[in-house]
Symmetry: C2
Subunit: 261 residues, 2 copies
């Protein structure tokens, strides 16, 4: 192209492009996908073939990718998993919350998750299901949108004014012209949380899934905002049950997890 002027990002002398590209390759793997060819990786990342080849070579040497013997395709390596477990290990709240969540799930025959906000998403830190059979694979590390889920709405509603504005900016970019509608809905949810202490999402994120959410008061400020949800199939839980039985119990659970509140 033409000579490159100092664009928004390209002037950034501190940004290490090669690292970013390598991570772009790793994040090209979507959950549930077994192995990807170099070609596919090039397409997804938008990087030239030879560059991808070098990056996969490097990542493989480091154990972050492993190459299937016969197909030659790459899969995520176990070194990546070690990183992920290090993340989880750094959140002590899981150790406190997990047993309580498990009791809750068994008692109410419902699934319960602990999440943390990351931008305009909630990332699941822990999930307890009522039954052993895993139906939907929404487990630790999954991301769900702040706007359309009960857990997201609970989290959003607990943000300080300044944090909320930042989140709004994030979502405005994310939703484009739909943002006004989304924002209206969010504001409505926030009012409900202020009044009743919990949020709802009845079939809005996933069809036939009823969910309520509550926020946890952050134990150490700046640590990120934590939140809980309880969710079950619509055939087993109607709106009344969710509001009158599950939601109060979930609020109780939140108080158990963070006693100082």
């Amino acid at each position: 192209m033409s000579f490159t002027p100092q664009e928004d990002e390209s002037k950034d002398r501190l940004f290490v492009e090669a690292l970013a590209r390598g991570l772009r390759v790793l994040s090209a793997f979507r959950p549930g996908e077994s192995a990807l060819s170099n070609q596919v990786l090039a397409q997804r990342t938008g990087l030239p073939k030879s560059t991808v080849s070098r990056l996969t070579y490097t990542l493989t040497k480091l154990g972050y990718l492993s190459q299937d013997a016969d197909s030659g395709y790459y899969r995520l390596g176990l070194a990546v998993l070690a990183l992920g477990s290090a993340v989880l290990g750094s959140y002590d709240i899981r150790r406190v919350a997990a047993p309580l969540m498990r009791d809750f799930a068994l008692k109410h025959t419902i699934s319960v998750s602990l999440g943390m906000r990351d931008g305009s998403d909630i990332v699941y830190l822990e999930t307890c299901r009522s039954q052993a059979r895993v139906s939907v694979q929404l487990s630790v590390g999954s991301r769900v949108p702040l706007a359309s889920t009960a857990i997201g709405r609970a989290c959003y509603s607990s943000l300080s004014a300044t944090e909320r504005e930042l989140a709004d900016i994030d979502m405005a970019a994310r939703y484009g012209k739909d943002w006004p509608l989304v924002q209206a809905k969010l504001e409505q949810a926030r009012q409900q949380v202020l009044q009743r202490g919990y949020s709802e999402s009845f079939g809005e994120f996933e069809r036939d899934v009823m969910a309520v959410g509550v926020a946890l008061p952050s134990p150490a400020p700046g640590q990120g905002s934590l939140c809980l949800n309880a969710s079950g199939p619509a055939f087993a839980f109607d709106a009344d049950t969710m509001r009158n039985q599950v939601a109060p119990a979930l609020l109780q659970l939140a108080r158990q997890i963070v006693p100082g509140a």
Copy 2:
């Protein structure tokens, strides 16, 4: 402490150093550690301050690190967790094994784990505990040595001759002058597996922990070698019980998980 001699490979034209360094920063975080300063990262990775500064800057921008507001320290970001969950999602065997493992753990009041070999380590892909209370934090993503654990010995014993030789080389480097002893012990364990079908580690990896292990026949060859263990506290399980009750049941579990064997 340990200087990393990377001069051997420095000729490699395909190896992307900047990427490797960035990942070195990420992997400097050990499980259970909350936040690290730039200084500590520089020490651990052996990289110059300014380089670490650039890398942390880049990683933070990408969401793989997040910076604590007041202390300025870095912690692993939630983007890392997404990668980890993608790894887990790519192993379908977990979906098959998890419910069976859970039943097993409940029935025998013992912990059971599914692992996969990575070099001279076993990485846990799934863990089911008998009780809700989590004592030792050996969960998904943890690494345990091939040589001194029941699960590792089971895995080692199931390797083909060529694979075993490679693993031996790995461990020879790892254990240095202790390797002959370790190898003798491993060979002994292998003989036991060949005879009885399972391996033992009674208090050898962790004091007061009794464990037996079995290998899973790899469903697709080259996919890596999978293995199971069952482990419990020594006060509740003696060697006889482990050998006569737990081990046969674990072999049975393995057959359930991989029916075609």
